[in-house]
Structure formats: structure tokens, C-alpha cells
Amino acid sequence: MAIKRYASIYLKLLNVNIKSKLEFAADFWISSIGLILTNLTSLFTLYFIFQHIPMLGGVSYYDTIFIFSFFTISTSLHQIFFDNIWSIWIHFIEGSFIKYCLRPIDSMFYYLTESIDPKGFSQLILGIALMAYSGANLNLNWSFINIIFLVVLLLCATSIYTSLMTIAAALGFWITDPFEVISLVNRSKDFGKYPITIFNNATKFIITFVLPLGFVGFYPSTFFVKDTINFMSLMTVPVALILFFAQRLIWKAGLNRYIPAGS
């Protein structure tokens, strides 16, 4: 079965990739610290601001931290497993992308599984710690059903962000160097870590329907921080599926008309 085959290959790749990356212990610690510090600057901002205001866009302090933690976990998952997206421009420019088309294996799978980024783990742990912290202060009910929903929504949020990044990367089939587009999506993602109630209507519309970054942090979190099940939070799942298929279509289309550099 195809899934079994891919799973077996993936587990093997994961295994050896982790082993290979962890050889550089010092690098791992230094870059982990760098990553955590970057997050801490956002966190401190929130902390210091909430010394002066009770609510941000109608959302309390702990709710805001929860949204932030949800966002951090899903983007960390993306970073650990799919960080290779950032290097794709090198392959497009040098024409070496063809190597991913020469084996009987899906080219996107082949490319994305090539390496993992272990420093993302530090950010993941930070996110989990923040979620526990804010969850405790919100008296969230960690029932079995809720945990299932949490996992599903987290995976969907990760998938949405990954799909957006992959679509940006796939533009390289057409424009050769998609680095800035990928960078753009990456910078815009910060829209998803704050309550989107603070944004004006135009921005809210874009974050929800055009570049669905609202579904990476805010919307799925509302499942947990509001008293009633929020409709938008459940929409995370169909959005994830739609984006997944969109990304596959775009990738395939790009591959079909890809003309590698060099004669």
C-alpha cells in the first residue's frame, strides 16, 4: 500500500535526519536559544502591555497567551518537519531540482523530508509550556474529547501554514526564485498570533479568506477560550483540507511546466 511505503520511508528518513542534525550539539543549543529569544520578545511585549490594559480586542490576557501558544505550537511543528522549504530557491536557481523528479517517489515528499530542523523543538516546548500555563489560568477542561480536538486542530493549523508556504515555494516553478514570496508569507503569519478582533474589517477579511492565517492561531483557539463551540474554529478543518488539495494541484501544475535551468 502506498501509505505504508511512504510511512516506512519517512520514519527511516526522520530517524537518520535527527541523528545527523544532533551531531552539531553546540549549534543546536545556540540556535534554540536564538529562537526562544525571538519568541520571548513578542511575549514580553504582550506581558508589558497587559500591565496597562485589561483586554486586547475583547480578549483577556490568558486568552491572548493561549492563542499565542497555539500559534507557536503549530508553527513550530511546521518548522521542525518542513523547514526545507526555505532552501528551495537554491535548487531552482541552480537547476538541481530535477534530482527530486528522478525517483519513483512524490517530488514534494522527497524534497520536504530531506531535512528536519531540530531547533524547532525548543519553540515547541515553549509553546506547550505556555499552553499549559494559560490553560491552567483559564480553568480549561482537558477532557478526552477536548484533547482530541486540540490535536486535530493543531495538526490542521500546521497543515494550513505548511500549505501556504508550499504554495509560495511552488511559485518557483514559474518565477525561479520564490524566496521573497516565502519570506512574505512567513512575515505575514504574525497576523495569526494575535486576536484578530483588533484588526479592521478589510484586514480581517484578508486574514480569513485570502491568506487564511487567522486559522493558524486565532480561530482554532476560540474552540477553547470561548464558552460555546465557535463555528469558525471548526472551519479550520475544511480550510486545511481545501488548502492541502490546492497546494497539491499547484505543485503538480508547476512540475508539469517546469523547465530546469541549464541547457
Binding site: I9, V16, S20, L102, R103, P104, G262, S263
Partner: protein, 337 residues
């Protein structure tokens, strides 16, 4: 079997005027120009052949290889390899091929070579027994067991190429596409690689498509060569015959005790062999230069001459393949020297 019928491929290139003004203009107007990289080429390669694909840079050689490996789609014509269209049936097609691109590795850069091999085993569904046997063979012929536990990035160029070649043959593909496999390597490694290629070809009837600029590779491996220039095939045939076509043939130099007494020898040779066998006999300062076509062998000639006691020594010069290929590239096919 490989079959290309009437295959063509063109590219668009955007022409930009030089300088800052040109760059600004190009933001508004795109001047597209069509380049015909490959024009209606035809060839068939049977299973088990070793074929050299030659041609000057920019001749359409790489484009042809990319179409044959399923990376590019042809604009016109048909490509049928192993019963499949490489582009349309890429997943199934690539199961039966192995590829080596000399400049870039096909293995996983950060991982130990043996791990790459193991992943390849999983991707191509190679049986464990066959896998181990293949690894043993590679170690016997290439001696790679000492290096396969190192990550690819720590290997020297030669070591990396050996591993890449092994990786390409690991799953016993029906066709191996080798693009510049010996570039930049020392003679020792080159010969190991050539031996492996010949061994795989002999034992498993692997078809080998070799792209190279290395003349010694061609001489050692290829029975047949296809020369592509400016998008078309300008020669498709045996390596030996090509020498005739550019008019370079074997030359035998005969050193006589006394160069003056050559008449007997010359008439002896001319009476035995026809004008299209012995092309000419030239009296040089201290030897006779006899040029023969491929209709007779040097040993036939020598067998006849050696009865003449006047001979002190002789030399044989092979057709210079490099000279020949250069001539072919220069478009001098069919010219007598």
C-alpha cells in the same frame, strides 16, 4: 528498449536589452524568442547496449537526456522507453532507471552513504537478499565499504562518485543514465567505475546511456555513439566506423635497414592489397608510412610484410578518437583527409 521518434523541443528565452534602460523596458515589454533545442531526432537503442551520447555544449544533448529521464515533455514526437512515456508515467518509469549526474549527488547530502542506500532500497522495493548481494559486489569492485559509513558531505569527489554510481545501480535498473560520471576523477577511480559499468552491462544486460566529454571513457565503454549537434543527430553508429568517415585511418610506420631499398617492399604490398585497402604508401626520411583502411587489419598487412628481411622495426598508430570527434563536431563528416 529506447525509442525516440521525431522528437522536438523548443524553449522560449526572453531577450533583454542591455543596461539600465533595457532593464526598465523589460518590465513592460517581454521580447520572447524561440530556440529549437532539439529538432526531430530519431533513434532506437536495444536492451543491453552501451551508447555514448556526444555533442558540443549547448547542442541539445542535455535536453535530450532530460526528455529521456522524464523531466521534460517533448513538444512533438514520441518517446517510448521500456514501454512507457517517461514524462507521463514518471512514477512507474523511474522505478526501472538509475541516474547519475556527475556534478550533483543523488544521495542524501547529510546522511551516511549506507543510510542513503537503505532508503533507496525501500524506495525501489529491493529484496533484502538482492540488496546485500549488490553491496557485496560494489565492495568487491569499488572498495566502498570503508567509506559508506561517512556522510556524503565528508567524502572526496572520487569517493562520492563511486557511491553515486553504486547508488544508481543498486536496484538493478534496466537503464542507467550516466551524465559525466568520471569528470574530475583520477585514473584509478575512473577505471574502477568503467569496470563496474561493464560488469553490470554484462551480467544484467543493463542498457547504459553515457554522456561524456572524456575520450577515454568513450573508447573504453561505447560500442555505439550518437553525436548531437545544433539539435540534430549528425552521427549514429559504431565508434570504429567513424574514423573512416573523417578519413583518419590506421597508419603503420615501417623502419627499414636501408630506406633506399624500399621498392621491393612497396611493390610487394601493392600487389597483395587493393587500393581501397592500402590507401597510400609514403616514403618518409627513415621510414615508410603506410595508411590502411579498415577493410584490412594491421596484422594482415604485417603478416605479408614481415617476410621481407629488410625490416628493422615498425610502429602502429591508432586512429585518434579525439581528433575524430573534433572533426565530427566541426561538421566534417564524410571528408577525406
Amino acid at each position: 528498449m529506447i525509442q525516440l521518434e521525431n522528437v522536438s523541443k523548443s524553449f522560449f528565452i526572453v531577450k533583454k536589452a542591455p543596461g539600465l534602460g533595457g532593464s526598465v523596458k523589460s518590465l513592460f515589454v517581454r521580447n520572447k524568442e524561440t530556440v529549437e533545442a532539439v529538432k526531430k531526432i530519431d533513434f532506437t537503442i536495444a536492451d543491453g547496449e552501451i551508447v555514448g551520447l556526444l555533442g558540443p555544449n549547448g547542442a541539445g544533448k542535455s535536453t535530450t537526456i532530460k526528455m529521456m529521464t522524464g523531466i521534460l515533455r517533448c513538444d512533438h514526437g514520441r518517446i517510448n522507453i521500456n514501454g512507457r512515456d517517461p514524462f507521463r508515467e514518471r512514477m512507474k518509469y523511474t522505478k526501472d532507471i538509475g541516474v547519475v549526474f556527475g556534478q550533483r549527488t543523488q544521495l542524501w547530502w547529510e546522511l551516511p552513504v549506507i543510510e542513503s542506500f537503505d532508503i533507496i532500497r525501500k524506495i525501489y522495493d529491493v529484496e533484502m537478499a538482492e540488496y546485500n548481494e549488490r553491496l557485496k559486489l560494489f565492495d568487491e569492485m569499488l572498495g566502498i565499504n570503508q567509506i559508506i559509513h561517512k556522510p556524503v558531505r565528508n567524502l572526496s569527489l572520487g569517493q562520492r562518485m563511486l557511491c553515486d554510481i553504486a547508488g544508481a545501480f543498486l536496484h538493478n535498473p534496466r537503464i542507467a543514465f550516466l551524465d559525466e560520471p568520471t569528470i574530475g576523477l583520477d585514473l584509478n577511480i575512473k577505471s574502477k567505475i568503467r569496470e563496474l559499468i561493464l560488469a553490470m552491462n554484462k551480467k544484467f544486460k543493463t542498457t547504459i546511456i553515457l554522456t561524456t566529454h572524456d575520450i577515454s571513457d568513450i573508447k573504453a565503454l561505447c560500442e555505439r555513439i550518437i553525436v548531437i549537434d545544433k539539435g540534430s543527430i549528425i552521427y549514429d553508429g559504431n565508434l570504429s566506423e567513424i574514423s573512416d568517415l573523417v578519413g583518419q585511418n590506421q597508419e603503420v610506420g615501417i623502419y627499414l635497414e636501408n630506406i633506399e631499398n624500399n621498392q621491393l617492399l612497396i611493390s610487394a604490398v601493392q600487389s597483395e592489397f587493393a587500393p581501397d585497402e592500402v590507401l597510400d604508401i609514403d616514403v618518409r626520411e627513415d621510414y615508410l608510412n603506410i595508411r590502411i583502411s579498415n577493410k584490412i587489419t594491421v596484422s594482415q598487412l604485417m603478416g605479408h610484410i614481415l617476410r621481407n628481411e629488410n625490416i628493422k622495426d615498425f610502429t602502429i598508430s591508432e586512429p585518434d578518437v579525439e581528433y575524430v570527434i573534433r572533426k565530427v563536431y566541426a561538421g566534417e563528416l564524410g571528408n577525406e583527409d
